[in-house]
Each structure stands twice: as structure tokens, then as C-alpha cells.
């Protein structure tokens, strides 16, 4: 009988935010396995043994051809059934940065289910540059991962291909109508952002979306890089109210969701 929250972090060549993502889940009491994609496709490891699947940031396969493309294809071509079963089983998925690109390009997000293939993409930043900067985010959806977050949070982004573009107007409308837009870039006062507040030119300032179940989240910002208080870029100006930073709640939500819904 499994009595603790089990997280699988999928790695491939070029994944590089796996350690800090593992740290976040472990710090909250989950047990974490960092598993190479090869071990999954060779059936040495099974998704069924876990409650949460995390696709961390990095440059899977160098982001060659396009960001996340090759790992997305591996998931789509070799693990589609396992992932469908995982989601249907009420479990959780989070894709951060490269993970978001992978989920989107594999067609798992936004997961409207109208057709096979991509309903959206993450394309080159309008600035044509990789940029590491902190952004303000408005929390909007009913997604399991973003429940009870502060209405506005502060997280870093670090990417060159983060511009969210839906396939067409219909996709965008559906995202909005279904409450799938989890996070939007905003100005510090919550107003409509301009560059660099919206760091990449994303359509409708979209920074993160979830699927129709609310249990699969993809986001460009890095909550694992604001998991601890001292990761805040100007923590030396702020009172230390807790050991945690503003991204911790996202991981806590994931872990608690499993405890409340899957382990009972």
C-alpha cells in the first residue's frame, strides 16, 4: 500500500532543473524519483507507480529543431497510453518552462481534445533573446495547482522560447471560457503589462495554462526557483515571514491534492 506522495521527474539529455524541482517536492515530504526517459520507454519504470509527473526546465535535446520538440515526440509516440491513463486516473502533471513547451508540443496541453496535434505553441520571444528576469503574475484559474495562491505572485522566467500562441481564436476562446488560463503576466500593480513585464510577447499575456481537468499545469515561470525565501531577488529588503517563497504553494497544492484525493 502506497502511503506517501510519489513524484516522478522525467529527465532526458539536456534537462537541467530536475534537482531543484526534486528539492521542492522532497522538502514538502514527497518521495521523488528522477527517471531518464529511456527507463520509461524501455518499461523499466512505470508511470502507474506515481501520483505526480513533473517535466522540469532545461533544454531537452538542446531544444534542437524547436524547444521541447524531440522529447514531446517521444512522449506522444511512445508513452501516449500511459499518460492518458495517468490523467484519467485523477493524477497530476506539471510542466515547467521546457516542461510546458513539451506538454504543449505533445498536444497534452491545452488538451481540448478536438483533434490530434498541437492546439498551441511556445515560440521565440519577441525580443529574439533568452532572458532571465522576474515577472509579476496574475493567478486566474481553478487549476488544482494554483488553488489558494495569492492573487498575484512574483516568479522568475528564464527562456528564449516562451511566447504563447494559440492555434486560432477558437482555441483562445475555449481556454478562457474553460478557465484554463492559470497565470498571466502583469505589471507590478496588476495592470496590463508591456515589455518586459510580459517578457516574451505571449498572446493575452498568457504565462501558464492547465488542461480541462485542471490537474495538468504548464507554465513558463519557475516556481521551484522561488521556493525558498532567499531566492527572492531582493530578499535583503524584505521581512522574513516564512522559509518559503511565493512559488512554494504550487508544489504544496500538488502534494496536498494527492494526499486528499488519491491517498485517502
Amino acid at each position: 500500500m502506497i502511503n506517501n506522495v510519489k513524484v516522478i521527474i522525467i529527465r532526458s539529455a539536456g534537462t537541467n532543473c530536475n534537482e531543484e524541482t526534486a528539492f521542492a517536492f522532497r522538502h514538502l515530504g514527497a518521495s521523488v524519483d528522477q527517471v531518464h526517459i529511456k527507463a520509461l520507454t524501455a518499461k523499466e519504470k512505470r508511470l502507474d507507480d506515481y501520483h505526480i509527473l513533473a517535466l522540469p526546465g532545461g533544454f531537452s535535446y538542446g531544444d534542437d529543431i524547436a524547444s521541447g520538440r524531440i522529447l514531446a515526440n517521444e512522449l506522444r509516440l511512445k508513452l501516449a497510453e500511459d499518460i492518458q491513463r495517468f490523467i484519467a486516473g485523477g493524477k497530476l502533471i506539471i510542466g515547467i518552462c521546457n516542461g510546458f513547451q513539451i506538454l504543449t508540443k505533445a498536444g497534452i496541453l491545452p488538451g481540448l481534445g478536438w483533434s490530434i496535434g498541437q492546439e498551441a505553441t511556445l515560440f521565440y520571444n519577441d525580443s529574439a533573446k533568452f532572458e532571465d528576469r522576474w515577472v509579476h503574475l496574475k493567478v486566474e484559474s481553478r487549476c488544482a495547482w494554483t488553488k489558494n495562491l495569492a492573487p498575484q505572485i512574483y516568479l522568475p522566467v528564464a527562456h528564449g522560447e516562451g511566447k504563447f500562441i494559440p492555434r486560432d481564436k477558437k482555441v483562445l476562446e475555449a481556454l478562457s471560457a474553460n478557465g484554463q488560463i492559470a497565470l498571466r503576466y502583469c505589471a507590478p500593480d496588476g495592470a496590463k503589462p508591456s515589455y518586459p513585464e510580459n517578457p516574451n510577447g505571449s498572446v493575452e499575456d498568457i504565462a501558464g495554462i492547465c488542461d480541462t481537468t485542471g490537474r495538468v499545469l504548464g507554465l513558463m515561470p519557475h516556481p521551484e526557483r522561488h521556493f525558498l525565501f532567499e531566492q527572492h531577488p531582493f530578499w535583503t529588503r524584505l521581512p522574513r515571514k516564512s522559509e518559503f517563497g511565493e512559488g512554494a504553494k504550487i508544489f504544496e497544492n500538488g502534494v496536498n491534492y494527492v494526499k486528499e484525493n488519491l491517498l485517502k
Partner: protein
């Protein structure tokens, strides 16, 4: 057959890459309306039309934003629409090619055998053929690694990467025994061996004893092992040194031992775990871990191909970390560059030199690509501009690693297998080690183009992942990286005591047709060599297989004491290891140091409004904001950053040292800083060295580090050491290093030198200014006590600690006045240590709201930076500043770059405690942090000499490198 697939954006989708290229073209002075980029894939193999469609639809194209075609028509060429296609030269591998093959196989399409990529640029604008050529050469490609595809739609019949192996070969023997001196010199030159006559004679003598001529690969092996790059002949040789014409000559037996190593030996710190002999210096971190630190230069390659040079520079120093002890895990990068100013006119550049703007862009992108893709944060750095770096930019790449205690030592045992892991071997970087031991000329690009490469960070990341697994499982007994000199250097070093037998044909190759000596000395990137006990070999190969990393057994450390190389069963080298490592003749070099004849600065009679001078200092390229560079580096991956490179509520203030946690969640941290100042060296290399040590230490003190635990690295970049004046100033600089290190109790743990940084053109030799980079690494006991440089709160007191002196020499202020001056800042080591101890205590007691190091631009710049970084104003009274010297004037007080000074911000309630810490030391309250936006400095007569809004100052500071 070969399919050609072109991928481009759908109409109406912004092409940011094309837009950015268009900006670069406009920047060159051409009028273009826009550029569109088309990605080209040439796919070779047994692939059907249906399959090519699937490859397009499911792999090569993003269906939301892109479209593709494989039924090709000629691209539209007209006078206002130009099309250029650029591809890599044969032998230069684009990492995308291997990924594409993998992606195609994942689709279940197995007929694919080779992929080549190219990029097509559609330029919308009126360009003549000459203009187009200029744009192509200066923006779109570098001819060392790329070429223009003459006839794009004419698909070749073969991609030429699967040519059959040449099985027949001849062993080349070099006739050394019969050669006279002239012939010996010729052999050295023609073979690009860079060996001098005495060395050639020594080799000749050795082979006479052996009774035979050497093979080409034997000669290459000696040249590589004895190269300046690998042996540091200048630092380890004999120098006859004197100061001035009549100075008494002094014999220095190994400058390294008498300066750098002597300081470390004298200090004898218990926390120094492994110094100088490994790929990086190792110091203790906490009870479970050590940290290692190494900084290297990659100047010559970066001068020719800035992206590739810097790219492989970062890759190389990361491999130093992987090759330290039994392998350390990289924690962060630090990178320092020296360029000519970006506004230098093309006509002022030496022929053959790339424009500094292009060099900078390429270097920064190269560092970005490697560091970001490996997931190693670039947390710290500096960019120094001086016109003398025009033909010879300096690129310093540093890496800090973490290694479990007990894993810092390694030993090759007789019988261990020689295993190469990582990237495949190609023709890349042949002669890199020897090439970097000579001067550049305007013909260097053609002669040495083989020395230029581009890296594949993902390959190295895979090696890292697999390596740490194998390390923790205890599967190997020693490891080192393949850097300059390739296998020759790695196997030669590891097998020094045991000898080795190598089958060169066992090395996995990028393409067939390599000669045996090319395999041996190739500097292909991302390779490591390990010594593996035979009992572990299967487990080891399995670990590497699980991470998709190639590993090949090349041979054995066989206990013969000889280096024996075989190719397809035939012996091609058989050398005595002892001769290789100890046979190098000691050379005596002459060195003389002349104190340069310099004039004291001429200052205006009366000091007027100094606001323009402050703005001038802030907008000096060296001082100005480097945010545009910092942001494109991932400085936060791994989540360990504590003091980030950008500080303050707007995250744009210039931090001092960077601080990271050693491990996520640990209280202890690591501070990393750099000290570099080229102008001081023009006045006196001794005080340049002392100032750089002081600056690096000062930065660590400023963020909350302790003087108890700071270790240093030295990186000397100098001109040709065979010229006595160059070597003389080098000696004097090394003496400054010794003095400063001993006085501060900060040992050197590793270092590197890059000599021959001269650019010979039309018979005239242009040397870089002798430059030392001091990198420091400090221990931070508790990261929660770290201090940043941004002013925090109105009403807090502003304090200056340390004495400001009449030391304008080499300052930014004088440079802006077109002068150099003659008095470089000196260091009062005793007092400096006491000041740093006091600041350290203040930080420990949490008295400091902010602290900032005073360096380039003096008090004025430091105060202004603190104010605008914190978004707060300030009032400063200059007559309170502790001063010593003759010229007590406002400009001297504000802009002198005297060492050992910091500015502290302290809340009123802590002033008394602060006073007790600084009793007997130079310190004073000089002002107050203000709520308003004004930055006001009152002069000696109590009238304002600076009165300006912080917003204006910030703008001035941010604009030069935006």
C-alpha cells in the same frame, strides 16, 4: 537519396530572429526593411515521399506557426530581395543534425543515414553584390566554420559524412637525425609545433640515442606535451630579471614557485585541500563537501571565432571541474571579458581583426549557449574595455564545483583500462595547444582554422549526468578532461607513471578518414578520459549507455613506462614517458622592468560642477550597466543564488561578489568575485596585482564573507615573454600577487597563464596591456546574513570606511580627461585587513543595511550606484571623507580609486556599535539616505558639487550597453 526540406514561418507570424539580424545589418549602415530566416534540412537515406511528409509534419515544423516545403523552386532573387544560404563547413558539426536523426528514428523511420543543416536568409532591401558580400561576411557567417551555399536547390548526391574508411595508411617518419639547425627550425614551423631550436635539438638527441627517427605522431606528442600551454615554460623556467638599466640581475628559478606557490606554502591553510596539481584548486566547504574553482582563458580561439571560442572556453572549464579529483559537480560559472570599445572605428582595427562589437556579441552568445544549456548559472563577471584589446580580446571562463570529501584524490593503477567517454573525435582543433603558444597574425585564420571549433553543451551535460552516477558507484580510479592536446595530453598525463598502450582505431570518430596523428591530438570537445579497473568495465559501460553517452575502451595503463600507440594493429609510436615529461630543457629568459616615464595628471585649477564628470564616469563602458549581458545568462538555474548579479527593488543594481548556497537548503554559501584593472598595470604591474587582489577580497567582504576563508586564482594574460620588457612586467606583477596574497592570508589554489597575446601585423607587434585577473572564492557561514549594495531606507547613515588618497592614476576620471596619471592606488595591507575584519563583524552582527565596494569611478560612482539601485536619494558631505594626501580637492575625493574602501549603510540605532568596531580605523559618517530623488554631494566649502536626480544617473549608466 537526399531530400531537401525548407521550414519557414507562416505569413503574419513575427520572425524575431530575422528581425534581430535585420537590426545588425542596419547597424552596419545598410538600409534593409527586414530579414526572414528559413531553416534548411538535407536528409540523406532511404526515405519515401510519405515518410518525408511525416518528418515535416511531425518533427521539423511547428504546425501552429510554421510551414515547410520539399518541392523546391528557385528562391526569388532580385535587386531588392537577396537570398543567401549559409552552411557549416565539412567537419564542423551542427548538434541539430544528431538530434534530427534521433527525432526521425523516433518516428519509426529507420532509413535515415545523415543530416546536414543550413540557414537561408531572405533580405528585403536594396543591396549591391558588394554590400551583400559585406553583410554575409560580417553578420551572417564566419568563414572559418561556414560557407555560402552557391547553388542551394542543386541537391548534392551525397552529404559526404558516410565516406568509407581509408584502411590503408603509411606511418610517416620525420627525418630528424640528419637535420641541421635550419632544417630543425623548418620542421618545427611547418609542422606547427612551435618548438624552439634548443627543444628541437633535445628531441634530436633523444632519438639519436634511440637509434631511429621519430614518427610524426611522436613529434606531435612531444610538441603538445612541451607546449607553453601545457607546460607553462615561462612560469616554470629560469628568468634573469632586473629592474631598470642598471638594476642588479636576480635569478628566478620558477616564477610560479617563488611567487604564486610560495604564498600558498607560506600561508599553509588547513582548509586548502588540493592546490595547483589537479585541474582545479580544491578547498574545504563543510563537513561533507569540498569546493573547487578554476578559471581559464580562451583568448586565441575567441579572437578568430568569438562564439565558438567562448563556447568551447566555457565547455573546457566545466570539464576541468568534471576532471577534478574523481569529478566535481559544477555549481556556477563566472566569466570576464576584455574587448576594445564597441565604438572603435573599423579603420582603427588591425587588418584581419573582427570588430569588437561582433567579438563581444559572439563571445557573450557563446557563453550564454553553453552555460544555459548545461544548466549552470553564470552568476558573476566583468567586462573591461581598452582599445589595446582590438586584435586580441581576452575571454576568461571560470567554474566552481562541489565534490564530496574523500573524492578529491585519484590514482591510476597499473592494469586500469583507458576509457574515452563523451563526444566523438573529429578533425576539430588540431594544433590548439601549440597554436595558443604562438602569436596571432593576420594570416592566423587561414593557417590555424583547424583550431577553431563549436561546442555541444548537451553532449557535455549528458557526460556530467553519467559521470556523477559512475563516480558515486565507484566505478573508476582516475579521470581527466580532454582539453588542449586531446588524448595526447589526457593519456600522457594520466599515464605518466604507468605508461599506456592505446589502439587509436578504437576511438569513436565523427567521420571516417582521420589519420592516426589527428585522432591522437584532435581537440574535439566534450570528451573525458578515465582509468577503469577491468572488474568495473561492464558496469561502467552500462551507466554510460543508460544516459546515451558513448564510451570506448582505447587501451590500458600497462605499467610499461612507455607510451605506445597502435593504429589498425601497427605501432605508430613508442616513447619513453620519462623523456616526454622530464626531457624538456630548462630555458633561461631575460626580463627587465622599466618603470614607465609618466606624467602627473593636470587638473583644472578650480573644481566646478562635477555632475557631468559623475555622468561621464557612470557612462564609461567599464562602469556602465551590464544588464543586457547578465539577463541573457541564466543566473538562477539550480536555485542556489543568494546575492544575484542584479540587486535592488528594480533588480538592476550592480552587485559586488555573487553568493550561492553550496547546496539547496544549506545555510553555508560560497562567494565568488573578480578583480581586474588594466589601467593600473600601465602604471605599475605590482600595484595592479595588489589592487586586483584587494578588489576581489573587498567584494567578498562587501556581501558578508570572511577574510578567514578566501582563496585566490591567478590568470595572467601577457604579451610575448621572449621579449624582456614583457617578461619584466610579468615578473613584477607576480611579485605583487605574492605580497598581496601573503598579507591578506588568502592563498592561491590554482591559476593559468596565457602568453603570446600579441598581434603581429605588417611587421609591427601589438601587445595587449599585461593583464591579471584575480578571481576569489570565499566561504559564507550563513547566507541569511548576506548584504546587498542597494540603499534600503531613508534616514539611514552613509559611512565611508578606508582612506581616500591622492591616487587618481589610472582612474576612470582621468581616462575621461584623456590622461593616465602616474600614481596608481597602492594597498596598505595591514590597515586593509583590519578594515575588512571590522566590516565582517558588522555584517555578522547584522548592522549593515547595505554595503558596496568602491572601485572604478571611486566614491562618486559607488554612492550613485547604491542610491539608484535602491531607488533612494542621498546627501553626502565630502569634507567628512577620511583623506590622506596633498591634493585635497573634490574631484580627487570623489574619483580617486584608492583601494580598501567600502561604503556602508547603517541605521541610526547601530551607529554606536559600528563606531566601536572601527575604533582606531579610518571611518566616517559622510551622509544620509534620503527619500527624495535627489543625489546631492556638498563640496569642501559646503556648496553642492553634484546635484542630480537618481533617475537621470541611472539612465546615463544604463544607456551605453543597452
Amino acid at each position: 537519396m537526399i531530400w531537401r526540406v525548407e521550414v519557414k514561418q507562416k505569413d503574419g507570424i513575427l520572425d524575431p530572429i530575422g528581425e534581430s539580424i535585420a537590426r545588425d545589418i542596419i547597424d552596419l549602415g545598410f538600409d534593409v526593411a527586414g530579414v526572414r530566416v528559413v531553416s534548411v534540412y538535407l536528409l540523406e537515406g532511404d526515405i519515401t515521399r510519405e515518410e518525408i511528409k511525416r518528418i515535416g509534419d511531425e518533427l521539423l515544423v511547428d504546425p501552429v506557426v510554421e510551414q515547410y516545403s520539399f518541392d523546391l523552386k528557385l528562391p526569388l532573387q532580385s535587386s531588392d530581395h537577396r537570398v543567401v544560404e549559409i552552411a557549416y563547413n565539412p567537419g564542423v558539426m551542427d548538434p541539430v543534425e544528431a538530434s534530427t536523426i534521433k527525432g526521425i528514428r523516433d518516428l519509426g523511420i529507420t532509413g535515415i543515414s545523415a543530416v546536414r543543416t543550413a540557414r537561408q536568409y531572405h533580405i528585403n532591401g536594396k543591396l549591391s553584390d558588394k554590400d551583400l558580400e559585406a553583410v554575409t561576411q560580417r553578420v551572417l557567417m564566419n568563414k572559418l566554420i561556414q560557407h555560402v551555399v552557391k547553388d542551394p536547390v542543386h541537391v548534392p548526391t551525397s552529404l559526404g559524412v558516410t565516406a568509407p574508411a581509408a584502411s590503408k595508411f603509411d606511418v610517416v617518419v620525420v627525418d630528424l637525425l640528419g637535420a641541421r639547425d635550419r632544417k630543425l627550425a623548418e620542421i618545427s614551423k611547418q609542422g606547427q609545433l612551435y618548438l624552439n631550436l634548443e627543444e628541437m635539438r633535445t628531441i634530436q638527441k633523444h632519438f639519436k640515442k634511440e637509434g631511429r627517427n621519430p614518427t610524426d605522431v611522436e613529434l606531435e606528442t612531444v610538441a603538445q606535451t612541451w607546449s607553453e600551454h601545457c607546460r607553462h615554460k615561462t612560469f616554470r623556467g629560469i628568468i634573469r630579471y632586473r629592474e631598470g638599466k642598471r638594476g642588479k640581475p636576480k635569478i628566478i628559478r620558477s616564477l610560479f614557485k617563488t611567487s604564486i606557490a610560495a604564498a600558498t606554502l607560506k600561508l599553509n591553510k588547513k582548509w586548502c585541500v588540493s592546490v595547483f596539481h589537479d585541474n582545479a584548486g580544491v578547498i574545504s566547504f563543510d563537513k561533507d563537501y569540498n569546493v573547487c574553482f578554476k578559471v581559464e582563458t580562451h583568448n586565441h580561439p575567441s579572437a578568430l571565432e568569438p562564439f565558438g571560442g567562448a563556447n568551447t572556453g566555457v565547455g573546457g572549464v566545466i570539464r576541468d571541474t568534471l576532471g577534478t579529483g574523481l569529478a566535481a559537480k559544477p555549481l556556477c560559472n563566472t566569466d570576464v571579458f576584455c574587448f576594445a570599445p564597441p565604438d572603435v572605428p573599423m579603420s582603427d582595427l588591425p587588418a584581419g581583426a573582427l570588430h569588437p562589437k561582433r567579438v563581444m556579441k559572439g563571445v557573450v552568445a557563446g557563453v550564454r549557449d553553453y552555460g544555459n544549456k548545461m544548466g549552470i548559472p553564470t552568476v558573476n563577471g566583468a567586462i573591461v574595455f581598452d582599445k589595446h584589446f582590438a586584435g586580441n580580446p581576452l575571454v576568461f571562463c571560470g567554474n566552481v564545483g562541489l565534490i564530496p570529501k574523500g573524492m578529491e584524490t585519484k590514482k591510476v593503477n597499473k592494469g586500469d583500462l583507458v576509457v574515452a567517454v563523451g563526444g566523438r573525435t573529429g578533425r576539430d582543433g588540431i594544433h590548439g595547444a601549440t597554436f595558443s603558444s604562438g602569436e596571432l597574425t593576420s594570416e592566423s585564420e587561414t593557417v590555424s582554422s583547424g583550431a577553431v571549433q563549436i561546442g555541444n553543451p548537451i553532449e557535455e551535460k549528458k557526460v556530467l549526468d553519467a559521470l556523477l552516477k559512475a563516480r558515486d558507484a565507484g566505478l573508476y580510479s582516475a579521470i581527466t578532461d580532454c582539453g588542449a592536446g586531446g588524448f595526447s595530453s589526457a593519456v600522457g598525463e594520466m599515464g605518466e607513471k604507468t605508461g599506456a598502450r592505446i589502439d587509436l582505431d578504437k576511438a569513436p570518430l565523427k567521420y571516417q578518414g582521420l589519420k592516426y596523428h589527428e585522432i591522437w591530438i584532435s581537440e574535439s570537445q566534450e570528451r573525458m578520459v578515465m582509468a577503469v579497473p577491468p572488474v568495473h568495465i561492464e558496469a561502467l559501460l552500462e551507466v554510460f549507455e543508460s544516459e546515451n553517452v558513448e564510451a570506448a575502451v582505447l587501451g590500458e595503463f600497462d605499467g610499461s613506462g612507455r607510451l605506445q600507440l597502435y593504429f589498425h594493429g601497427q605501432q605508430v609510436a613508442d616513447m619513453d614517458m620519462a623523456f616526454l615529461h622530464d626531457g624538456l630543457p630548462q630555458i633561461t629568459k631575460e626580463a627587465v622592468y622599466h618603470q614607465p616615464a609618466l606624467k602627473k595628471e593636470k587638473l583644472s585649477k578650480k573644481v566646478a560642477d562635477l555632475t557631468p564628470d559623475l555622468c561621464g564616469a557612470l557612462s564609461h563602458y567599464n562602469v556602465s550597466s551590464k544588464e543586457s549581458v547578465i539577463r541573457i545568462y541564466d543566473h538562477e538555474v539550480q536555485g542556489t543564488s543568494i546575492v544575484k548579479p542584479l540587486a535592488g527593488p528594480a533588480t538592476d543594481g550592480p552587485s559586488d561578489a555573487a553568493v550561492i548556497r553550496g547546496r539547496l537548503g544549506s545555510a553555508a554559501g560560497i562567494a565568488v568575485s573578480n578583480g581586474i584593472n588594466v589601467r593600473f598595470g600601465k602604471l605599475d604591474p605590482f600595484w595592479m596585482a595588489a589592487s586586483c587582489v584587494d578588489e576581489a577580497i573587498r567584494q567578498i567582504i562587501a556581501v558578508g564573507g570572511t577574510l578567514d576563508r578566501i582563496a585566490l586564482l591567478d590568470n595572467f594574460c601577457w604579451g610575448n615573454p621572449d621579449k624582456p620588457d614583457r617578461l619584466g612586467s610579468l615578473v613584477r606583477c607576480a611579485e605583487g600577487c605574492y605580497k598581496a596574497a601573503v598579507s591578506f592570508g588568502a592563498p592561491f589554489i590554482s591559476g593559468k597563464d596565457s602568453l603570446y597575446n600579441e598581434y603581429t601585423h605588417k611587421g609591427k607587434s601589438l601587445a595587449i596591456p599585461g593583464t591579471i585577473l584575480i578571481s576569489a572564492i570565499g566561504h559564507v557561514e550563513d547566507v541569511s546574513r548576506c548584504v546587498t549594495m542597494d540603499f534600503k531606507k531613508a534616514g539611514n547613515g552613509i559611512y565611508v570606511v578606508g582612506t581616500t588618497k591622492d591616487e587618481l592614476g589610472g582612474s576612470i576620471y582621468l581616462e575621461n580627461l584623456g590622461q593616465l596619471g602616474n600614481q596608481p592606488p597602492q594597498v596598505d595591507f595591514k590597515k586593509a585587513s583590519l578594515i575588512y575584519r571590522a566590516v565582517e563583524k558588522a555584517a555578522r552582527q547584522r548592522l549593515l543595511a547595505s554595503a558596496h565596494d568602491c572601485s572604478e569611478g571611486g566614491l562618486a560612482v559607488a554612492l550613485a550606484e547604491m542610491a539608484f539601485a535602491g531607488g533612494l536619494g542621498a546627501t553626502v558631505l565630502l569634507d567628512k571623507v577620511p583623506f590622506k594626501g596633498k591634493q585635497r580637492r573634490e574631484d580627487v575625493l570623489l574619483f580617486s580609486e584608492s583601494n580598501s574602501r567600502l561604503i556602508l549603510e547603517v541605521a541610526p540605532e547601530h551607529e554606536k556599535t559600528l563606531g566601536s568596531l572601527f575604533k582606531g580605523l579610518p571611518w566616517a559618517r559622510v551622509g544620509t539616505v534620503e527619500n527624495g530623488p535627489e543625489f546631492i554631494v556638498y563640496g569642501l566649502n559646503k556648496k553642492p558639487v553634484i546635484n542630480v536626480f537618481i533617475g537621470e544617473l541611472k539612465e546615463v549608466w544604463k544607456s551605453p550597453l543597452k
